[in-house]
């Protein structure tokens, strides 16, 4: 306690307490969004019944809705949102570009290419009869996931290889990512051009993004990867803080900037690859989340990192709830909902011009 009292004086302690309070507030909001995501839907369950069911006291119908249908979906949203949020936060920091995220550096496009390859070339998707008429589905999710992961890792490996052959800067890394993203998009388009309608539709369906197709086994893998990435990023918070002042300044503070940059990109891309390969393309969450909280916690990564993760989780939970509620019982594509949120933020960033500094 005595040690705490001496750190930075009264004013600094209050200032830090304010940031911690904001994290608690975000955590509470995320918990609320989690409960709402489970409670709301085509068949609503009151929140008190949701809580009872989560603790094992619900009736059979509630258990099916809450535990079997909505809980895995909500947990997927939390893990994926948190993961995309922290990855976006770290990439924006180490690349010193506020528009950096998994989709900016070609990871998402690589995943889409991989998924398209699995569905079109390897026969991983087709049209099937469902409860509401004909449905598109990915018939070999494991194959599609694996190929999507391979595609997104290709982007990462290319950038890492490039950095080993030539010394790359943050700027060239992001430009290489943009170029690679375009290349993968072109590859996907060409495959779609030569594929039949059903397979093209299955690819489009996959790229919409879907939180409802994960099983607990998938969620555990995603959770483990996101947890490992979170721990790695948390251990590097001071490196990321130092790198904000520029590469030379960070080197002068003892940071091995090249190693931090490359490992940050590899770990971030790996986490994003795993997430995207399980749930499809979810745009803008990794981009928006850090921007949403930066105004409140500044760019101190000790607070910006968890805040971005929580904001990402909250965003995905709210987006998914909206996707299920707006035109119930039809579930709108989650990727479209997050893009609707992302586009105005892009405009806000452009017109505010704050990132130009």
């Amino acid at each position: 306690m005595k040690e705490q009292l001496q750190r930075g004086g009264q004013g600094y302690r209050s200032f830090i307490a304010g940031k911690r309070l904001f994290l608690v507030f975000l955590l509470a909001l995320t918990a609320l969004a989690f409960l709402l995501a489970i409670a709301l839907g085509s068949s609503s369950v009151p929140i008190n019944r949701v809580v009872s069911t989560l603790f094992g006291f619900g009736d059979a119908k509630e258990k099916v809705i809450v535990l079997n249908l909505r809980l895995p979906r909500a947990v997927t949203a939390i893990i994926a949102g948190f993961g995309l949020g922290i990855v976006g936060c770290v990439m924006q920091g180490i690349l010193r570009n506020p528009l950096a995220s998994a989709s900016t550096i070609g990871v998402s496009q690589g995943a889409a290419f991989g998924a398209a390859f699995a569905i079109i070339a390897l026969g991983g998707g087709l049209m099937s009869a469902g409860s509401s008429g004909m449905q598109l589905s990915v018939t070999s999710p494991a194959l599609t996931t694996l190929c999507a992961f391979a595609g997104s890792m290709l982007s990462t490996l290319f950038i890492v290889a490039l950095s080993r052959i030539r010394r790359v800067t943050a700027g060239t890394m992001i430009l290489a990512g943009v170029a690679l993203g375009s290349l993968f998009s072109a590859g996907t388009t060409l495959m779609e051009y030569f594929a039949d309608d059903v397979r093209v539709a299955a690819v489009v369906y996959w790229t919409f993004g879907d939180l409802g197709s994960t099983f607990w086994k998938d969620i555990s893998v995603m959770g483990a990867v996101v947890l490992a990435a979170s721990v790695y990023f948390a251990c590097n918070c001071w490196n990321y803080n130092a790198m904000q002042g520029g590469e030379d300044g960070a080197k002068g503070l003892g940071v091995n900037t090249r190693r931090v940059l490359i490992l940050g990109m590899v770990v971030g891309s790996l986490a994003a690859s795993v997430i995207v390969s399980y749930i499809g393309i979810i745009n803008f969450v990794g981009l928006i989340a850090p921007h949403l909280v930066r105004k409140f916690v500044g760019t101190d990564y000790r607070y910006l990192l968890p805040a971005s993760g929580l904001a990402g989780a909250m965003l995905l939970l709210f987006s998914d709830t909206a996707a299920r509620m707006i035109a119930a019982p039809i579930v709108l594509p989650i990727g479209a909902i997050t893009s609707v949120l992302g586009a105005p933020l892009f405009l806000w960033i452009i017109f505010k011009g704050r990132w130009k500094q």
Binding site: E3, Q6, R7, G8, G9, G11, Y12, F15, R96, C235, W238, N239, N241, A242, Q244, G245, G246, D248, G249, K251, G252, L253, G254, V255, N256, R294, G298, T299, D300, Q357
Partner: protein
Amino acid sequence: MIQAEHIQFAYRGMEKVLKNLCLNEEAGHCIAFLGNNGAGKSTFLKCLNRILEPQGGFIAVDGLEIKSSSRAQIARKLAYVEQRTEMSRLTVYDTVLLGRKPHMRFAPAQRDYDITDEAIARMQLGALKLRYIDELSGGELQKVILARALAQQPKVLLLDEPTASLDLRNQHEVMRTVANIAKEDGITAVIVIHDLNLALKYCDRFLMLREGEAFCYGDSGVVNPESIRAVYGVDAAVTELNGERFVMVL
């Protein structure tokens, strides 16, 4: 304190920028690197703490051989004040605390907070410590970066044009502070600077560079009309007033 022998450096595929540069200085001195744009001043400064990797030569600071040392080891001996700090939304306190980065493992210890408090008090930044650095004036920001360098507890302070873009008052305040730190803490300050009069007023050692080579190296006597003409290509007179030397371009 700092010893650099036969330093050579060339950017990839280019001609040599530094040719056999040497530097040997004891604690407590302020050394000015002088010369035209492109003479190699900032490059030499960055080679001293391996921000740029020299292709030849030997550097040691306070017994530490720089070439074989880790970045953190180097940063514990040499602090670097860059020409232009990119803005971030960190508070003054957290920016100064960053100076403890080479000394900490994963998180700051009590000693890191104590040293940060000392550096802030010494640079008289107490009133600003909760302000974000992107809200500060140029002079205030330069003091913050100096405080961050102090928090590193270095043996050598490297400053790359610390007075560029500062007004007259702030130029003198920053240079006076650096000279005082060097004397009081026994730190060697190495300063890349364009203003010869500021250099003559606050520094006691001078290295004049021309096209990557040392033209002259020594005390204030080396800054004379001949060396100024040879290095800068301008005619100048050096006069004395109240025991201080001044350069007047003719």
